[in-house]
Symmetry: C2
Subunit: 677 residues, 2 copies
């Protein structure tokens, strides 16, 4: 088993995850060209399309509350959702050209409405990535259970297990390979089209499909006009969950084949078209087959042992109604649905680090998130995402309906901020470059800003009491946190900025070699210290254990080291403090010389080795870094030099969407350097 | 809020615990003299005495299974346990003198039966510390619930919360202050004595107390002779849980006041006497009051709503029987019992790191565990212990009876190995120093070795199927792990041992300053590099971002840095690899010179700062440590120099039992150093 340099990255900071992960997957060696449309569509659309699996379901669920009378309004509500999709697509369509760098709504808001507005979008999106994972996985489990009701008792465990699976896969570094995405997505589209098609044809032939749930009556309390309006709004708000994921493309432009913008836009149109038709089709079938879907199956009069028996998902019900109980096609539909939902969840694992790096580049997230090629960082992102999603799933018992309540808000925050930003963008264009300005784009942006804004309002109002409040608590906290980080960086930058006032001019050059035992690493450190020809040089040993000290002194003589050995007392079995005292004393006597402290450092390659090494010397160094005029010289001694070392060949989550060139698997070649003065 | 150097220890490796912990407690400044007997007794005895709280209970529980006929045998079983206590005390009594260093059974086995045997004891004890926490906390919760039945539904949560509480307390650094221990322990002893006394007096006066549970019949299947024998053995085995904790004293000799051994032995005798009398008294009362205690209250015929209503602990039942329902004394007894059980759990938090450091000193545990004054290490031990115990409590639903099944084994493994070791010790003495050899000690050791061995066998046989098997799985794994660590250290020691063959003699001296931006820290690094007067010196910048490079070059000229700046290309936005390439190239051209790489290092004092810094440069350093002939020179730049720095004043878990001198709260004073050649 060859261990590469990324193992080192871990030895710096232990993470049990390394356990789970081990060797890079072969998939890490997949070809890494930019994505052609036919591949980009599935990669970016799985999120948006999969939401068609729960969008209509949530809509029906809310309508069913009002009883059959209200259910009749389904088509109109659906129409509203469809128009909204069209509008949002149109909005992103322009956004993609105006800001092709992949910053998406965040960038637009940031550039046009100021960093704080951008940050709102950033926070909203971060939260939404978490929810994408939670909702998609929960919905996926729903469909699995619809096919295999036996699994019902393990709903939550199943969901958590799937999240863990996705996390591990991404930690190991699965490139979002087109192939892996294309097949399931296209199968999903095809099977749903087939489903809808067959259903409509049967209806045309006068044999409309009938959902099993149509047999169950729903008792509903008489409802006022106002109540009806509110209910329809809620249904609409829930249906809007079908819009989640459309933003993915505007965040992934860099990953497209040239001409990037053009391809991205075409893909966007395709995506819009497909999701509209799927949404319309499923709703139509639902209405035709008189499907009833209740939040709690026990509200369905006549539904046997509702307490234990789970309610099949809408897709599953329709498939059964159209193809007949237990037909293989039913399993195809549910399986492909579940699979696409998983892929959708996976996209979040790729989007999260990507957004993170954009935020970091603007100084709103730990700068390390911006480091390309830093696996550990991305891994932490993946783990963070997984934990948050798992927590959500646990708390809300993997209940899609409960999760959806939190979901849509984030998306529409980013949509509306993005479109408001676009509006500002056009207006500025109008002022600055009159020639390029056109009226239509502005109009589109304004409308879609208004619509998305209105929907955001509706969603908030109708869902706030159903759990959406949580988002309005977490969002601001996140926002505030990111601002704080930004402030911190600003302060540090100011602190370390080069200025004329601070004068450097260290003089004198004393060197100390910290000696614990006289081992090879220590001898090497001594040797290097000598080679560096410092003005003065001494070995220093803290007298923690008199016996050990004696032994050392004897050895020191025996080896004939040409450097004086100084023993400093350590009454408290502590090394750092006595050495610090010694250094201070030296600087007190010899004036403020630069003191270079040499310490040997054992370097192991295996992730667990650091658990057995260097704790102490690291602490000592930590302490020494606080002394004035001290430089720490680490002389590495590499253990088991047989293990190979090289750059980490594994792809990073989000690389594909970022359109990153792949790091080479083999070592880099010698490249000439140019010198400047 | 002043942050001291220990915060740094944390910035090295982030641990969320720091969050929970914050500032050291005032208790950290308690006086730190060695312990006089009257204080040592409670400190070391709480574990042993508290086990009297569940020992008899477990015995009664098992006997009750056999029905009233079998219950009659209680006195004889108790007698067996009492004799065993006496024997074990006698055994430890000699052990304390023979091995006063505090290694206890582990040391005896290690020295006399070889490291592997010692390791068995070590593993057994480690597991037992975990069980001490789990059992004591669970039993404590039992007594709390007996007093306040309303808390019954939260049994598990309560237990976990208590464990967390103990962990946090120990992380913050509570010294095992005599005072804190003395009061509850003595109150416990007093209250139980009062309980027993009153009970016996009332019996003498012809008004014996009657336990409420005596009213409930127990149905028991007719039982064979063999069955009876086995049942009695099981009862005995369960009763033996009263012996846990006696080993504490032999592990804590160094903490006693001089004459250490004598005081330790006297304390040991006191301890033995007290626990025997308490055990005897409680059993007697149990028999007199015809107490019935079933594993599942529903086995008690006539026990109303047994499903929901918890069964009061034996102590609680006796207290009620003696003092009457709801008498204040009842609450005193149960409260002091609960408190002592908590203290017992706390002792494990002190013993665990102590044993860890002994194991580490022998190279069987990560060496860092041996570092005195290394808070982080101890903290990790505490957290590990807490997590393990919490897991156990969760899995076994804080069910004392279930936990007890795992418990006794470890104790008796260490007892028997310890006593076998002692036997060997005496026999060797007989061979080597005939004059000092006496027959009696040998006899004692042999008997107690045989008895404890026999009990170990009984315990294993009677409990294996009841869950004890888990111990026989975990133990060996732990054992094997520790052996592996030992082997690893041995290999490394061999690898780095100084020998005549390896020749050092590095020559040449080239220095590189890694430059990212031209900030104060970088300028300081340049300045130090210049001060060190290396043979050759250059600044190196990896061209990750052309713009930034341009800017740097302009600034470089502007600042008029007297060092050539070399730009190395970085096609993969990576810094480490290009620099490595550059160094190799240099060494290829100029021969194998020592290359010193200067990097500025930002040093923050707050635990969260490292999250925002240095990730990348740390990675780069990590990579550079793998290159031949490279020395890393860190030039620290301290942020916000206003925060104070000093040694960590807080006491470490286990210090009290280790008899450690306290680290000073104020800075150490200047101490003269002696020079040697």
């Amino acid at each position: 088993m060859t261990q590469r340099v990324y193992v080192l990255a871990v030895t710096e900071e232990f993470s049990p995850k390394r356990w789970l992960i081990g060797e890079p997957l072969e998939s890490g060696r997949l070809d890494e060209q930019l994505l052609p449309k036919r591949i980009a569509l599935p990669v970016f659309a799985s999120d948006a399309l999969s939401s068609v699996a729960y969008g209509p379901q949530e809509m029906f669920l809310v309508l069913t509350i009002g009883g059959l009378a209200v259910l009749a309004h389904a088509p109109w509500v659906a129409l509203g959702v469809i128009c909204l999709i069209a509008i949002v697509v149109a909005g992103s369509f322009q956004l993609v050209r105006a800001y092709p760098s992949g910053g998406g709504d965040y960038e637009v808001a940031h550039r046009n409405l100021g960093p704080r507005a951008g940050l709102v979008v950033g926070a909203a999106l971060l939260i939404d990535y978490v929810l994408t994972v939670a909702v998609s996985v929960a919905a996926g489990v729903d469909n699995v259970i619809s096919a295999l009701p036996a699994l019902a008792p393990w709903r939550v465990e199943l969901a958590v297990a799937l999240i863990a699976l996705l996390a591990i896969a991404n930690l190991r570094g699965v490139r979002e390979s087109g192939a892996a995405f294309a097949l399931p997505t296209y199968v999903f589209i095809a099977s749903v089209v087939l489903l809808v098609g067959t259903g409509l044809v049967r209806t045309a032939l006068g044999d409309p499909p009938v959902a099993a749930s149509s047999a169950y009556a729903v008792e509903a309390d008489p409802i006022t006009q106002a109540g009806l309006a509110l209910l329809l709004l809620r249904a609409f708000a829930s249906g809007c969950s079908a819009l989640t994921g459309i933003e993915a493309i505007s965040n992934g432009v860099p990953a497209f084949r040239r001409p990037k913008v053009r391809n991205a836009r075409i893909t966007l149109l395709l995506l819009g078209g497909v999701s509209i038709s799927l949404f319309a089709g499923i709703t139509a079938l639902g209405v035709i087959s008189r499907l009833h879907y209740a939040q709690d199956p026990c509200d369905l009069i006549g539904y046997a042992d509702c307490a234990t028996r789970p309610q099949p998902s809408v897709i599953a019900q329709l498939a059964t109604a159209v193809f007949g109980e237990g037909a293989p096609l039913v399993y195809l539909v549910t399986a492909s649905t579940a699979l696409v939902l998983l892929l959708a969840a996976n996209t979040a694992f790729n989007g999260f680090p990507l957004l993170g790096s954009v935020l970091a580049a603007n100084g709103f997230a730990p700068r390390s998130l911006a480091n390309r090629g830093d696996r550990l960082v991305h891994s932490n992102g993946v783990i963070l995402l997984a934990l948050a999603a798992a927590l959500l799933v646990l708390v809300l018992r993997a209940d899609v309906n409960a999760l959806i309540q939190l979901y849509v808000i984030g998306v529409f925050v980013s949509f509306s901020f993005g479109q408001i930003g676009m509006t500002v963008h056009w207006l500025r264009l109008r002022r600055t470059r009159r020639r390029e300005f056109r009226m239509l784009p502005l109009a589109i942006s304004v409308t879609s800003a208004l619509c998305t804004g209105a929907v955001l309002l509706i969603v908030t109002v109708t869902k706030f009491t159903h759990g959406a409040w949580a988002v309005f608590v977490l969002g601001p906290i996140l926002w505030w946190l990111m601002l704080g980080i930004h402030r911190y960086y600003a302060r540090v930058r100011a602190e370390i900025a080069a200025d004329r006032t601070t004068v450097f001019g260290a003089k004198g050059d004393h060197a100390i070699v910290l000696v614990e035992e006289l081992t090879k690493p220590t001898l090497k450190a001594l040797d290097y210290a000598i080679a560096a020809r410092h003005a003065t040089l001494e070995g220093v040993h803290a007298d923690v254990d008199p016996e050990a000290t004696m032994r050392l002194e004897r050895q020191w003589k025996a080896e004939g080291v040409r450097v004086p050995l100084r023993i400093v007392p350590s009454p408290y079995r502590d090394v750092a403090e006595p050495v610090v005292e010694h250094i201070r004393r030296h600087r007190a006597e010899h004036g403020p010389e630069v003191v270079t402290v040499y310490t040997p450092k054992l370097v192991g390659l295996r992730w667990w080795e650091h658990l057995l090494h260097n704790r102490r010397s690291t602490r000592i160094r930590q302490r020494l870094t606080l002394e004035h005029g001290v430089t720490l010289a680490l002389v590495p001694w590499r253990l088991h030099p047989d293990l190979p070392v090289g750059p980490d060949p594994r792809p990073l989550p989000g690389d594909a969407r970022r359109g990153q060139p792949a790091r080479p698997v083999v070592r880099q070649q010698h490249r000439p350097a140019r010198e400047r003065r």
